[in-house]
């Protein structure tokens, strides 16, 4: 038997009081695709960062191709034949593809010889792996799929034999993702070893040979993919049986609450992000918006939430909402009973350095019940926070804790509690379960369904198709600032939606 391409023995790593990796051992056979799956915060990325020399393990050994290897920095990882494609690309945006590939792997003090050599090698790599890119285009001129190729080429240019990909499909359309997996197959056929980090069960089932499951910093199992099932993996990830579908009764859609007509948004750079959206949200119905990130979903949430201006019509219970100038900001929207759980709770939904009780007032800090004369009534606010924390089971239930001290799930519960408890007519909710543990996901989903059953309208934006299919009643697919089509959830499937997400099928609504 050949030595494993990678073997980790007893890796442990703590960040201050938090233990991110606990005594992790794993063997990855050469020429295979090895999946690592786990919930957010399970320690996958930390483990791979240790392998790539970003962090130094507190304890443990790394063996590459049967040799004990020290990896104190990325340079050592590259020398050991390891390449990594990060979730957030590490590219210099205003450099060309060629300059990005050469950066750090130049041949000498002068640039020109390195660049021409790289140009030649790039041509060879493109032919060998069907990884075509235009070497003279700047990174900010090419799409994310292309940027990901540049990252892969960067690793191959450095002669990597082991390629680590961290959540590579998060920014890709389903067809782009399929293409990526074909490239990975090809790389495997050429003898490369690939580690695929993901939280998507389907990708693991489709693409990998072997899969390791991580939970709370520990490796709970390593199994052959062919010998397992999604349900089994989910159970290994969470440590108990999980419901992959949300428990809810069929929707009883009522009158239209929100009517959107020909909604357009042009961003700061002058790019048209929404190109005429028509959409109706009904009482007692959850409308899911599916699509690959960056196709206008964020802008749709933001214009509805009063975070940016637009043109067209948004009618709430028959009243037109201003889309520009006075009365179009988020404060006015809140006054009109639009609540908003934003996509990015860490930079938008919460102020990480504020106490929990300040965060409960965040956005509603002008509310009359929180005022006492010219000043804010902090005592009332703290009592209110305690009540909300109890109702939403936020742990620890301490109003004085800063938002950054809560786990992702508890942070999201604070945001959801603040917004839902206002009893809004319309709830906007973006990526409600991103970076949230499964326990909190179930809780949050239940709250959303409960609000629906009170006859409110809900707009759910998520890049997780699974989440939309299980939580929403209807789904609209967005591509390039337009709605490609609208379906009842039980009359469609992932395949049809996936094609619409890529902009290839479906009637324009």
């Amino acid at each position: 038997m050949t030595a494993p391409a990678i073997e980790l023995k007893g890796i442990s790593k703590s960040f201050g009081p938090v233990q991110a990796n606990k005594d992790i051992s794993i063997r990855v056979a050469p020429g295979t695709i090895h999946g690592i799956i786990g919930e957010n915060g399970a320690g996958k990325s930390t483990l791979m960062s240790i392998l790539y020399g970003f962090y130094k393990a507190d304890k443990g050994e790394i063996w590459i191709n049967g040799n004990r290897t020290e990896i104190p920095d990325s340079q050592a990882a590259i020398a050991a034949g390891i390449g990594m494609v990060f979730q957030h690309f590490k590219l210099v945006e205003n450099f060309t593809v060629l300059e990005n590939i050469v950066l750090g792997a130049e041949d000498g003090g002068l640039l020109m010889p390195s660049l021409s050599k790289a140009r030649k090698i790039l041509k060879e790599l493109a032919a060998e792996y069907e990884l075509h890119v235009d070497p003279d285009k700047r990174i900010d001129e090419i799409g994310v799929g292309m940027q990901q190729r540049v990252e892969i080429l960067k690793a191959l240019y450095r002669q990597a034999d082991i390629l680590i990909l961290d959540e590579p499909t998060g920014v890709l359309t389903p067809p782009e993702a399929d293409q990526l997996f074909r490239i990975l197959d090809r790389l495997r056929a050429e003898g490369k070893t690939i580690i695929l980090i993901t939280h998507k069960l389907r990708e693991i089932m489709d693409a990998t040979d072997t899969v390791s499951v991580m939970r709370r910093g520990q490796m709970t199992a390593t199994v052959k993919t062919s010998e397992t099932s999604p349900e089994h993996l989910a159970e290994l990830m969470v440590g108990r049986k999980v419901l992959l579908r949300v428990d809810k009764v069929p929707a009883k859609p009522g009158k239209p609450i929100v009517e959107i007509e020909q909604l357009r948004v042009v961003d700061e750079a002058g790019v048209e992000r929404l190109k005429g959206i028509d959409l109706t949200l009904r009482a007692g119905e959850i409308m899911g918006i599916a699509g690959v990130a960056g196709n206008g979903q964020s802008e749709l949430l933001e214009v509805l939430g009063g975070m940016r201006s637009g043109e067209g019509v948004i009618r709430l219970n028959g009243v037109d909402l201003p889309l520009q100038g006075a009365g179009s900001d988020a404060r006015a929207r809140r006054a009109a009973h639009v609540a908003h759980v934003p996509e990015d709770r860490q930079s938008e939904g919460l102020i990480m350095g504020f106490h929990a009780w300040e965060n409960v007032a965040f956005g509603y800090h002008h509310a009359p019940e929180y005022q006492k004369g010219l000043l804010m009534d902090n005592a009332v606010l703290r009592a209110d926070t305690e009540a909300k924390m109890a109702k939403f089971d936020v742990r620890p239930p301490d109003p004085w804790l800063e938002a950054k001290s809560f786990s992702g799930g508890n942070q999201q519960k604070i945001v959801v509690a603040r917004e839902i408890e206002r009893n809004p007519e319309l709830l906007l909710i973006g990526q409600p379960t991103r970076g949230v543990d499964i326990g909190a996901i179930e809780f949050i989903h239940k709250q959303i369904v409960a609000l629906r059953d009170q006859g409110k309208a809900i707009l759910l934006v998520s890049v997780e198709l699974e989440e939309i299919l299980s939580l929403a009643d209807r789904v609209a697919v967005m591509f390039d600032g337009r709605i490609m089509g609208e379906r009842a959830v039980d009359e469609t499937d992932e395949k049809e939606l996936g094609l619409m997400m890529a902009g290839v099928a479906g009637e324009v609504a």
């Binding site: 930390t46 920095d73 340079q75 590490k90 945006e93 450099f95 750090g104 000498g108």
Partner: protein, 321 residues
Amino acid sequence: MDFITLIQVLDSTVRLATPLLLACLAGLYSERAGIFDIGLEGKMLMAAFFSAAVASVTGNVWLGLLAGIAASMLLSGLHGLASITFRGNQLISGVAINFLAAGLTVLIAQDWFKQGGRTPSLLTEGRFGPLTFPFADSVRDVPMFGPIYSELLSGHSILVYLAFLAVPATWWILYRTRFGLRLRAVGENPAAVDTAGVSVIGLRFAAVAICGLLCGIAGAYLATALQAGFVKDMTAGRGFIALAALIFAKWRPWQAMGACLLFGLLQAVALRFQNIELGSVTIPVQVMDALPYILTVVILAGFVGKAIPPRSGGEPYVKER
């Protein structure tokens, strides 16, 4: 204005632009690498004092230059320690360095020379003398070309020529060498440099060191070439004008030269004419003094093209999980 006056004003423009240009290029290296530096002023001041002090004591202007560079680089090291090693606020560090230099120079000058915070006036051997070009004297009387060659181009100190040669050199380093590629990359996206296996800290310290070197030359030029000795606060805001020129030039070397020449011209005109009469309107000298700053504000406001700094400028690099 007659031709000779014009030549004289331009000649003084070149002299006054030199310290601005050196400091501006210094800032360019630092800021291109993602380290904001509002401490150019302090580094120049420190270098001005130490170059004058050492030149005055040893009588050797080259030793003075070295001392000036060493002093400036020491402050650069401090800025690097604060903003790279300890990931502190680069702006605050720059402010501190400016005050440190303003205080220390006078303190030490008073202790060493007891002349109220200045160095003794430098004699000829303690200063950088003019470099006379071949035939400068013989062509002096040729119309047009003569004055341009012998007055404007010839007769500056070696540091002036060095400063202007540093412009193409900087362009070449920035765009034609591995170091330049990495330097520009680390100012745009340090994570890209780090994951490519290149030390972000090493690159940034190198950039900060070059910044110190150039500021050192700029300060030495002030005290040992432009003037004869150090006086309190002699940089007089030049570090900030250089910073303004850098923004004006959008962090590019040739444009930096243009901006510094423009600001040098403003200083030369203000120095020579005081209040300027333009027909019925009189432009007071204070307007000329304030003009570089006003122009910078106008540029920053994006009324004349947008100045976009290097993307990671001012941000300490923290490895992302």
